[in-house]
């Protein structure tokens, strides 16, 4: 049994102190997943808090045989998927919201190579804006795969899907992202040509 599972066991027996240790350990992965799913830091904060609250309330259902992180991220992913579905249902589009979430992605001007950092920052912003166009469950699968290095089996367990469904969702999402990437490249190329001086 590792340290986290020992804390989970103590928390199951009613130790709030042990649960606090779990919150401290997993706040970043949970917040990151929520941010990648919802696209805004305020919403991600709320979703991450709610995830821990739900985990606290349903701690008796946690199976010690599974890694605590998988169980926790599964709660976070399902919460975010539900939230996104409710938002779609109420005709509230992510596109109408501001892009404040990008403040996390801004390049560091003090870095040794500001130009490279700026390109990296643009790429990250681009990835984040493309993620929001994916299907909610596909997005969760992509995040678990590329941010948490989850195997297809782990993703299937977390999202309550079959392994073949996860595989096809990952393939579909990757193809969609590549398609969006290509479109943006084409658009950017066209824009560059428009602003170029005819003299050159």
């Amino acid at each position: 049994m590792n340290e986290e599972q020992a804390w989970a066991l103590e928390a199951q027996q009613g130790s709030d102190e042990a649960f606090t240790k779990l919150v401290e350990t997993y706040q970043t992965p949970v917040f990151n997943l929520c941010y990648r799913m919802l696209g805004e830091p305020e919403l991600a904060e709320d979703a991450a808090q709610e995830t821990f609250l739900r985990a606290y309330q349903h701690l008796h259902r946690y199976d010690q045989k599974r890694p605590f992180a998988t169980w926790l991220l599964s709660i976070a992913a399902h919460y975010c998927i539900d939230k996104l579905r409710r938002r779609k249902f109420s005709m509230f589009s992510m596109d109408e919201e501001d892009e404040e979430g990008n403040t996390f992605e801004l390049a560091d001007p003090d870095s040794p190579n500001p130009e490279a950092e700026s390109i990296k920052g643009q790429t990250r912003t681009r990835i984040q804006s493309m993620l929001k166009d994916l299907d909610d469950t596909d997005r969760a699968a992509i995040i678990m795969r590329y941010w948490y290095d989850y195997s297809e089996i782990e993703i299937a367990e977390s999202l309550r899907l079959t392994v073949s469904a996860v595989k096809s969702r990952l393939h579909r999402a990757r193809k969609e992202l590549a398609g969006m990437w290509q479109e943006e490249e084409t658009r950017a190329h066209a824009e560059r040509r428009t602003y170029e001086s005819p003299a050159f």
């Binding site: 919150v23 990151n32 349903h58 259902r61 790429t123 590329y146 193809k175």
Partner: protein
């Protein structure tokens, strides 16, 4: 080689041999779709992990405390509503009897005492019948049958306890 195997390699993040890498590089020069797949793959892998603002744990503790208070308050109100509605329902059901007792108390007290005495004498008669039957049973039933009966009762009790224990175990898995 056609496009398909390269796309599959990229989608499945296959570990490529040096020869396969060379083939892929050649393919990427001519295939914009696979180039986009490679670039998005790299972008996904290089995307950073975003951290929450400082004080996340403290904010969680405050939220949990508020949730606990709200839960306690909800339970208290639930109990009050249950108690008030139960008392109201009981009062409504008992109202005709209360009015009847209030209008003719002597008849009701006499009837009540009579009913109490009837129950008491019936109970006495019943215990006597049971005692007589037990005395007769001990004479008729041999000791080994008693042992069998006792063992069967103990076995059933054990089975019942195990079943209760099995059903009352906490459910496992994620359903949050």
């Amino acid at each position: 080689m056609n496009h398909q195997p390269f796309e599959t390699w990229l989608l499945e993040d296959k570990n490529l041999s040096p020869a396969e890498k060379r083939e892929l590089d050649l393919h990427l020069r001519t295939c914009s779709h696979c180039t986009a797949l490679t670039e998005t793959g790299l972008a996904l892998r290089s995307a950073p992990v975003v951290r929450p603002a400082a004080g996340f744990t403290l904010r969680f503790q405050q939220r949990l405390a508020a949730q606990k208070i709200a839960e306690r308050r909800r339970r208290l109100w639930g109990m009050i509503v249950l108690l008030v509605s139960g008392t109201g329902l009981l009062g409504w059901l008992l109202a005709p009897y209360i009015f009847a007792v209030a209008s003719a108390p002597v008849e009701w007290v006499t009837a009540g005492v009579g009913y109490f005495l009837f129950v008491l004498t019936s109970l006495q008669a019943f215990t006597e019948v049971i005692a007589v039957l037990l005395r007769m049973a001990t004479d008729f039933i041999p000791p080994y049958v008693w042992m069998v009966l006792l063992s069967a009762t103990a076995g059933l009790g054990l089975l019942w306890t195990i079943s209760i224990w099995q059903f009352s175990r906490t459910p496992q898995g994620v359903t949050a």
